[in-house]
Subunit: 218 residues, 2 copies
């Protein structure tokens, strides 16, 4: 049974970009909800990740189908392998966004707390890294991906700043403990989102150039 | 350029099991260090994950090489795709073990704290899940993998218990805050290790049966 490989690959590219756009929208919503403490917006992200799960399964099935029925080589094979991985990374970003929405809803129930500046910067940067890597995927832009990977260092520094803030904040007022821990937890999720965006950047570099850059500074 | 596919696949199986054993050893060491507060043992895990990173790259290169030079189908293709994913999951477990070792070293510098029972149980279970899933991989045992996936629910409950403990412990003595947060952080890492073990279980089911069980209870 033969398949029309170019048509399948075009469909796959469209699907992974659609999945990326859906995940990016959920991430943007949760980051806005974090900044504005918008309970309703957080609730839209708390629920409704089933569509993302279904897209993930659908894309995975299509990749396996193509691999099973045709013998893609070189660039086509790399594209399918990269899509399998990116698909997984996007689903994780969606999951992390959902986790953040739960924390925001928790925080809104507890004593009000001022969100620390490094967390806001993490939120802004991890959202931007995700948006940029999806653009780079659409444009096959390996150069942009190398820049995105470097942004991850700043995220790690910000995570340390949030950590220091937590250590100061807790003894200052133990009634805030729950919200402080929610903020710590959100910072971890943002760090992981930035990590996933970096992983996608590595996959795009692999896809475009055939180079594996993991564990390197290249 | 033809390759000897059966020989390559046998080699790949040996390599992924060797990688699994190396990661399992590091995980066991860090879990023992956690239980016994053994600084020296924690330090062995803090350093020396380069060997794991190199194994990961080597296995990935071999998979890509096989995919590029032969046209594996059906079970062989599934095996290679599963190995690519398991390889990645194992490397993450190694990374998480390293992260835990840093926390243990931190904790040993601060005020002594009694490790809460749910954390010890999480540590014991996540170590066992990892060991069991590696045995299941060696034995192509999809049935064991279904059981392993279910163990993940108990881990989530334990994580909630650690969370509750943190909320009680911090107001009790704010001097312990740093160690309490280290424990919270270790619990998150253990939860992620159990998650990765579940992912590997899903990959083994896929490899053996060709069924994708992600997002399902099957």
């Amino acid at each position: 049974m033969a398949i029309d490989l170019p048509a399948e690959l075009t469909g796959l590219r469209r699907d992974i970009l659609t999945m990326g756009a859906a995940v990016e929208k959920r991430l943007n919503n949760v980051l806005t909800a974090l900044r504005t403490q918008d309970v309703e917006l957080a609730q839209t992200v708390r629920h409704g990740d089933r569509a993302i799960d279904e897209m993930e399964l659908d894309i995975e099935m299509k990749c396996l189908h193509i691999l099973a029925l045709s013998q893609p080589v070189a660039g086509d094979l790399r594209f399918i392998l990269a899509v399998l991985r990116i698909n997984n990374d996007l689903e994780r970003i969606g999951d992390l966004a959902k986790g953040i929405s739960k924390r925001i809803l928790d925080m809104c129930e507890n004593a009000a707390i001022q969100i620390p500046a490094p967390l806001l910067e993490m939120s802004e940067r991890s959202g931007r890294m995700t948006a940029e890597v999806l653009n780079a995927l659409a444009d096959d832009d390996a150069k942009a991906c190398r820049r995105i990977r470097q942004d991850d260092d700043r995220i790690d520094d910000l995570q340390k700043e949030v950590f220091a803030w937590v250590h100061e904040e807790i003894p200052r007022d133990v009634n805030h403990t729950e919200s402080v821990i929610d903020i710590l937890s959100i910072s971890r999720s943002l760090e992981r989102i930035a990590d996933q965006a970096s992983n996608i950047a590595e996959d795009v570099i692999f896809l475009v150039e055939g180079t594996v850059v993991r564990h390197s500074r290249a």
